[in-house]
């Protein structure tokens, strides 16, 4: 291992050369980088579909595309963003790169399974794209029956794609769970683990337990559509509401699969950029676990208007309220972490503060929807659309961007342009609010979602929203630009640019192929910053006495 604070020549990027060396690699960092590139590519696809949708909604009548193309565009947007971007985003891309490093391990427990999961992602994505180029599915990402079993569009490839992506997700979950159980270094007790790992662990449990249900459900849907065996279609003796139960039994835990890793990312960034121990470590760690458990028991809150019984709705509503508590605890702890710290407002921290801003709004608006009486009015309106975009886009994507900037020096070995990072993060955050806040207003005023035509009364709000979407698009273009430029022209990154104490900052940037020569011995928690001082010469932190 080279001296801390410096960079050595041999690293995982230069270790082997050629495309084949990447496609056959078993190195978690390389697999993570491949995942990251694919996820960002899918983000471009889903984002383009979003801009098509938002452009169409500029006027109340037809604007640029037909009814059917609009329905296909929002289906593509939803399916791509959920299955290809947000679910694998933080765990499979950032998690793959960082998790073994944080454990001081040489790799994940099952490197081959890890590569297999990436290939499954690619195959699943190809099926989704196959549906797109033949006759794109127009069901919405939720595939509700009996519409999905009767529409003439090519639903089967899209559903089969989601089925395969489910296995990719299960593989990653299994791998991370095993790795965290078996490969922690000497001295790293559960409560000395970085919070990001607690989050990934909770996520992995959900991925492994919930995703099979989605797989079974999607397979049943394919069977009904292809062979005509009645499971969900009442014409064939099935029950359409059964599909909703099965679907949300997976897809509600899935929203926590999307957001819990985001909690993990900001739980790392807040203490590092405040130069202060994280506040309420155990509460943040265990609240991830609590959310993972409770997340399985609330799926029926998506179905208050489905004809589900009052008793069932009441139970689902009550448990949903319980989840608010661990979520609020996290928010309070992050704010308190900064208190009396030394707060540095660089790009990762701006994204984390943006997360706090946007996620809190997404969280409190969840209350309107978990209260049964108000949900009846708001269900399937733009209020719901705004709420989950504040949580998924404002929460998960914002944290993904924060994490991307935070670990960018580690994974690429280069520093990105900090000024541009700050400017574009602000453009993205303001664009995000401009896009989705008007959607709360028109939603509670009665604007239903998935509408191609709408009442002229809602036009102003739709136009604000569309302007916001383009603003976000601009922010992302700038981000992509300076990140790509940094790969060639960025300043060589020090081992520890932000002064983190979790183990990935103890090895060089980019890390050597085998990460650590010897397994580090852990004697303290991951948030002890007293020994690290900033060295202007190398532009990063070095540890006293080394």
């Amino acid at each position: 291992m080279a001296a801390p604070g410096t960079t050595i020549d041999e690293n995982f990027i230069t270790h082997e050369k050629g495309l084949l060396s990447w496609l056959t690699t078993l190195d978690h960092k390389r697999i993570g980088v491949m995942y990251l590139m694919c996820v960002l590519g899918a983000f471009l696809l889903g984002g383009t579909a979003a801009l098509v949708v938002r452009t169409e909604l500029w006027t109340p009548g037809p604007t640029i595309i037909s009814h059917d193309v609009y329905n296909q565009a929002f289906t593509l947007h939803g399916a791509a963003m959920v299955f290809l971007v947000i679910i694998p985003g933080i765990p499979a891309a950032l998690g793959n790169i960082v998790l073994p490093l944080m454990l001081g391990a040489k790799d994940v427990a099952f490197p081959r399974l890890n590569l297999a999961s990436w290939y499954l992602w690619v195959i699943g994505a190809l099926f989704l794209i196959a549906s797109l180029v033949t006759n794109a599915a127009d069901t919405g990402w939720t595939f509700y029956t009996p519409y999905s079993t009767t529409t003439t569009t090519s639903v089967i490839p899209a559903v089969f794609g989601a089925f395969i992506l489910g296995f990719s997700s299960i593989f990653t979950g299994l791998n991370f769970m095993t790795t965290i159980h078996k490969l922690r270094p000497p001295g790293m007790t559960w409560f000395r683990m970085p919070l990001f790992l607690w989050a990934l662990y909770s996520t992995a449990v959900m991925q492994v337990l919930a995703t099979p249900v989605l797989g079974i459900t999607l397979l049943m849907l394919i069977v009904e559509r292809a062979v005509g065996i009645g499971i969900f279609d009442p014409k064939l003796g099935g029950d359409p509401v059964l599909f909703q139960h099965f679907f949300w039994f997976y897809s509600h835990p899935a929203v926590y699969i999307m957001i819990v890793p985001a909690f993990g990312v900001v739980s790392e960034i807040f203490p590092v950029f405040s130069r202060k121990r994280v506040f309420g470590y155990k509460f943040i760690a265990l609240s991830s676990v609590a959310i993972a458990i409770l997340g399985f028991l609330v799926w029926g809150h998506h179905m208050f208007t489905s004809g589900q019984s009052v008793v069932a709705s009441t139970v689902f509503s009550a448990i949903t309220f319980l989840i608010a508590i661990p979520t609020a605890i996290k928010v309070f702890n992050w704010v308190t972490t900064m208190y009396k710290g030394a707060v540095h407002l660089e790009t990762p921290m701006i994204y984390s503060l943006g997360f706090l801003w946007v996620f809190t709004i997404g969280g409190v608006t969840g209350m309107f929807l978990s209260v049964m009486s108000t949900d009846i009015h708001l269900h399937d309106t733009y209020f719901v659309v705004a709420h989950f975009h504040y949580v998924m886009m404002g929460g998960a994507i914002t944290a993904l961007l924060g994490g991307l900037h935070y670990w960018w020096p580690k994974m690429s070995g280069r520093m990105y342009n900090e000024k541009l990072g700050q400017v574009s993060s602000l453009i993205v955050l303001f664009g995000l609010n401009l896009t989705f806040f008007p959607q709360f207003i028109m939603g509670s005023r009665g604007m239903p979602r998935r509408y191609y035509n709408y009442l002229p009364e809602f036009q102003e709000m739709h136009q604000l929203s569309t302007i916001g979407a383009y603003m976000m698009g601009l922010g992302f273009v700038i981000t992509a630009w300076y990140l790509i430029v940094s790969l060639k022209k960025g300043r060589i990154a020090p081992a520890n640019p932000w002064g983190g104490h979790t183990l990935e900052w103890h090895c060089s940037s980019p890390p050597p192929y085998y990460n650590f020569h010897d397994a580090p011995v852990i004697t303290e928690g991951p948030y002890e910053y007293a020994d690290w001082t900033y060295d202007k010469k190398i532009g990063g932190y070095v540890r006293k006495g080394q």
Partner: protein, 338 residues
């Protein structure tokens, strides 16, 4: 006179592709549409209570965060400014910020539960109207047997809507009364409301149902006094007295045929009605057929029998919904659409 009836039922201005555009009633509330029932107002007060609590708590959190960032700013990295404290734990604080929101959440839950039970329990003395959702229109069947594409109800009476669907999921959504219920094929669902104010307000389909989901709008009209009974009587009387062509025109409107079959020659989900009569159509099977009385009749009753080439087999059957007299009317009306 008969023209007046037909026109009074064609209340809406048409968008370019023939969709109806109902209008929201004016309201003082920034966030919510006009509340048309007592229950709606009660739900609104809970909505506003959560809204204000949310605004206050979000502001407290964000202002606190902003103030901390400013007050404890780290300055340049090379200054190596250390945190003023490394305190990382306070059980008291954790308990306080877990328990305080709990009180709020229990209050809101109980309040919401009360109104939800009321929303889902229709009073025994309700007028019952059947609503049917199908791609892409609503039809309402009144106790008198009258069928209409719009919902008419008496002011101040409890109205119970029994909802079904003949194809895919739909959802009957009347923002004015804060009610919404899915139309599920194969079962009945229901909702109820008690309209306080005479006037009109929109009805939407809230559950995505395909191509023209967003055109599946209608309107509820609340009649003051005995206006509702009068309206029902009038409808029956006038429909009875209509000459066939106007009866046909009215049926095409009431059953929402225009959602798929344009009257102006534009291709929709189904063939346009304009110039359809006496045309020779090529079917999906490759055969040809002359559009005559028998073809139109069969297409209404058994739409899957002879689907025209190039169009999806989407049309539902109207067997049992249209009397022979009404079908005769539609035939006569089509003859006029040259």
């Amino acid at each position: 006179m008969t023209h007046f009836v037909a026109n009074s039922l064609l209340l809406f201005s048409a968008q370019p592709d023939g969709a109806f555009v109902p209008k929201l009633a004016p309201t003082d509330n920034f966030w919510l549409p006009n509340a048309g029932s007592e229950l709606a107002r009660s739900i609104d007060s809970l909505f506003m209570f959560i809204m204000w609590s949310s605004i206050v708590s979000v502001l407290i959190i964000l202002i606190a965060a902003a103030w901390i960032c400013w007050k404890y700013k780290g300055g340049a990295r090379e200054e190596n400014r250390a945190a003023l404290s490394q305190e990382d734990h306070s059980t008291t604080l954790e308990i306080v910020w877990s328990v305080v929101p709990m009180f709020f959440l229990v209050t809101v839950f109980v309040w919401g539960f009360k109104d939800f039970v009321a929303l889902r329990t229709s009073p025994k003395d309700s007028i019952e109207i059947y609503a049917t959702g199908q791609k892409w229109k609503w039809t309402f069947k009144y106790p008198s047997g009258h069928v209409d594409s719009e919902l008419h109800v008496p002011q101040g009476k409890n109205v119970r809507i029994l909802i079904k669907s003949v194809d895919v999921l739909h959802s009957l959504f009347i923002p004015e009364y804060r009610v919404k219920m899915d139309a599920v094929p194969g079962r009945y669902t229901e909702l109820w409301f008690n309209p306080e104010q005479a006037g009109t307000s929109p009805i939407f389909c809230a559950e995505y149902c395909g191509t023209q989901h967003s055109d599946m709008m209608s309107q509820v009209t609340v009649h003051a006094g005995d206006g509702y009974d009068k309206w029902l009587l009038e409808m029956e009387k006038r429909i009875d007295a209509l000459p066939p062509v106007e009866l046909g025109q009215l049926m095409v409107k009431q059953f929402g045929c225009g959602a798929c079959h344009s009257l102006d020659g534009k291709t929709g989900t189904g063939p346009t009605f304009k110039g359809l009569w006496a045309k020779t159509e090529t079917l999906a099977t490759g055969q040809t057929v002359l559009v005559d009385e028998n073809y139109v009749r069969r297409s209404i009753l058994e739409p899957m029998a002879d689907v025209v080439q190039g169009f999806p087999p989407q049309m539902p059957s109207f067997k049992g919904q249209l009397s022979d007299k009404k079908i005769d009317g539609i035939v006569e009306y089509l003859k006029t659409l040259k």
